[in-house]
Structure formats: C-alpha cells, structure tokens
C-alpha cells in the first residue's frame, strides 16, 4: 500500500483504503478500480492523495468496465444522495418545459467539479 498524489493517479489503480469526504461520508470504497470518471470525481472533491494497492495497474479492460458501471447503482453514495436531493427538490415541480430543463441540466452538472465547489 502506498500514498499516491492526485496528479499521479491513472485508470486501473486499485484503492487500498476508502476515500472519505471532509464530512466523513464515504466517497469511493476500498478495492475500487479507478476509472477516468472516478478520477475526475476525486478532483471535483478536491482529494489530494489516496492510498493505492501495491502491484501492477489493473488491466485496461477492467478499468473500462469499471467506468461503464458508474451508473446509479455503483456511483458514490455522496453523488447518489445529491441526485436524490435533486429529485426531491423538483418533486411535483416539472410543470413546464423550463422546469423540466432546469432539472435535467442540474442533473447533468452533478458530477462536475464546479457543482461541488459550491455544494454543501
């Protein structure tokens, strides 16, 4: 196990410890094979360093499949919670094309660094 700076991260590395948010909630679990999308998320959460398993980088294929699995089911609990709060905020509110677009566009931005810079 070694500590790796954010800048050194690449797809296929395996997390040796859970990555936690400043508030203590779990972002990504131990054993996660990092995908490009997850590395982008780590950046948006301003994670500076993570613990990585020793040993070779996992096969590209595995990393690719890890990325395609980054849907509702496998996404981090923090992102899933944000998505749920967004749904709740718009419950019964999708009454015109503007409100529908607001919802869809806010949802698209949930996984961007800019969103997380301001989010609670």
């Amino acid at each position: 196990m070694r500590m790796v700076d954010f800048e050194e991260l690449k797809p296929g590395l395996v997390l040796a410890k859970d990555v936690e948010h400043a508030d203590g909630s779990k972002l990504l679990g131990r054993g996660t094979i990092l995908s490009p999308a997850q590395i982008a998320l780590l950046e948006s959460w301003r994670v500076k360093q993570v613990w990585i398993e020793d040993g070779p980088v996992a096969e590209e294929e595995e990393a690719d499949s890890a990325e395609t699995k980054l849907d509702e089911e496998s996404e981090s609990p923090v992102l899933a919670a944000a998505r749920k709060r967004l749904r709740d905020r718009f419950k019964d509110r999708l009454v015109n094309p503007w409100m529908e677009s607001l919802y869809a566009e806010a949802d698209k931005r949930l996984s961007t660094p800019r969103y997380w810079r301001w989010a609670r």
Binding site: A82, R85, K91, W98, M99, L102, E105, A119
Partner: protein, 283 residues
C-alpha cells in the same frame, strides 16, 4: 393584511439599525436626475470605508478593468450611480447584520444570496439591462426578510424551518408561525429604510405566483435566478424545494428552456467573481 403585520413587527424592533446619513444622502442624490458624479463623489468621499469599498469593487475581477482605478470619482462613473447607491445599501446591511455576528449561521444564507445575485446579473445581461449592478443587488438583498428572522425572530425561524422540512409550504408555515411571510417582512423593513421602490418590489414579490404591477422585469429576473440556484443547490434557502416559475415569467426574462444549461454554467463561473465582491463588503 399580513403586510400590516410585517410593519408592526418591524416597528416593534427596538434596536433596529438606522440608515446612516451618508447612505440616505446618496439615495437622495441618485433619485435626482440633475445629480452629477461630482455630487456623489463629495458624499461618498466623506466615508472612508465606503470609498475604499467602491475602489476595491471597481478593481475586483467582477468588473475586469485592465488597469487599476485609483480615482474615486472615476470609480463612481464606472460603477454608475444606481450601483453606487446599491453598494452603499448592501454594505450597510452587511455592517448592520453580518459582520462579527454569528457569521457561521449566516454562511449558507449569504451563499444563497450571492448565488441569486450572480444569477440575476447573468440574466440581466441577457435582458440587455443598462445597469447590471442593480440586478446584482436585487438578488443579493431579495431575502432581507430572512435576515430579519435570523436576527430578531430566531425561535419562530426554527419553527418555520421544521414545518417546511415536514413538507409544509414556506409561505403557509411563515403565516402560521409569524403572521406574515419573509417577503412581507423584508419589504416592510426596506420601506422603513426608504430603499428604492424597485428593490422594495423585488423583495416583496420575488418567487410569488403573480408579478407586481410595477418592476415586473426586475422581479421576474430574481424569481428565475432563485429557481436556477435552488436547482443547483447552492447555499441554503429556507425553501429547499425549487419554486415553480410560470411560463410567462421565463418569457419576460427572455430565456428559452434549452438555454438554461448554458446559463447555469455562466452562473457557476460568475460565482467565482462574485465571491470577491462579497469579501469586499466584509470590511
């Protein structure tokens, strides 16, 4: 009428800050069409801290000047009279309610206000409004009533919050607990302080179903701005749900549904600049 109730509540506050003479004088001058930049300069320059704020502001990233402006008179010309007045008002509200006092409790609230201000500003640009800075301050101070609740009615505010969390609408909860809404409370205070009519109208009518008779565009912009920043969950407003904004309000602001994504990105980008705007006010 609950606006009457709001006025009673405001009148009942004993230690309500009074508007400083310099702010009253600036307001009076800005309303007079014959006023020159020199007139305003004479008043602003009597207040060292306000002068410094104006200069810092005009030199902040928000205005993107290519070189440093060192003359106060020039700064006033660049900012525009209405913006100078609004900055004076905003600086007063900050001094009166924010600096030093429970700053942490206020953080989420002011972040919401700053975000609404940035979004109002982005919308004002699209509407080709002449004085952009005015819309910024409409957004910044639209929830003045909540400042009143935080400062003078903390128990009632807590009761309102818990009702809203249980699923009640904000307006109903406020009427049940306090007897008036934060819109009415803010408008009553803004009137008492002789804030400009447009600002009073925005404070009283933002996020309501109906637009006011006057200052429709201003109110519409702040209402849309609120929906945009609540969608993005920036800061903490009392209404955690997004307000429904009717078709005609969006149309008045001139925004099509497919433009909202781009607007969100502009708002998020502008927030970076606006934050320095607010830091200026914390003196």
């Amino acid at each position: 009428m609950s606006i009457e109730k709001a006025k009673q509540l405001i009148d009942g506050i004993e230690d309500l800050p009074t508007l400083p003479e310099v702010v009253i004088e600036i307001t009076r001058l800005v309303e007079n069409p014959d006023t020159t930049a020199e007139d305003i300069y004479k008043i602003v320059s009597t207040d060292v801290s306000l002068s410094a704020t104006m200069l810092k502001l005009v030199n902040s990233a928000f205005y993107g000047m290519s070189r440093t402006i060192t003359s106060l008179e020039k700064a006033i010309r660049i900012l525009g009279f209405a913006t100078v007045r609004n900055i004076a008002l905003a600086a007063f509200v900050f001094d009166a309610f924010v600096s030093g006092k429970n700053a942490i409790d206020y953080r989420g609230f002011w972040l919401h206000s700053i975000a609404a201000a940035s979004a109002s500003d982005v919308l004002a640009r699209r509407m080709r409004v002449k004085e952009i800075g005015e819309y910024f301050v409409y957004g910044l101070l639209h929830d003045l009533g909540i400042v009143v609740m935080m400062q003078y009615l903390p128990d009632e505010l807590a009761a309102v919050k818990s009702r809203v969390l249980e699923g009640g609408t904000l307006g109903e909860a406020e009427r049940d607990v306090i007897g008036c809404t934060h819109n009415e409370l803010g408008a009553a205070l803004a009137e008492r302080w002789d804030f400009p009519e447009s600002l009073v109208a925005v404070i009283e009518h933002h996020c309501m179903r109906e637009l006011p008779g006057e200052f429709k565009r201003e109110t519409a912009a702040v209402t849309c701005a609120n929906a945009i920043v609540t969608a993005l969950e920036i800061g903490a407003a009392l209404h955690w749900k997004v307000n429904v904004v009717q078709d005609e309000v969006w149309e008045l602001v001139g925004v099509a549904p497919d433009q909202l994504g781009g607007i969100m990105d502009e708002v998020l980008a502008e927030l970076e600049h606006s934050r320095s705007f607010i830091e200026l006010l914390y003196r």
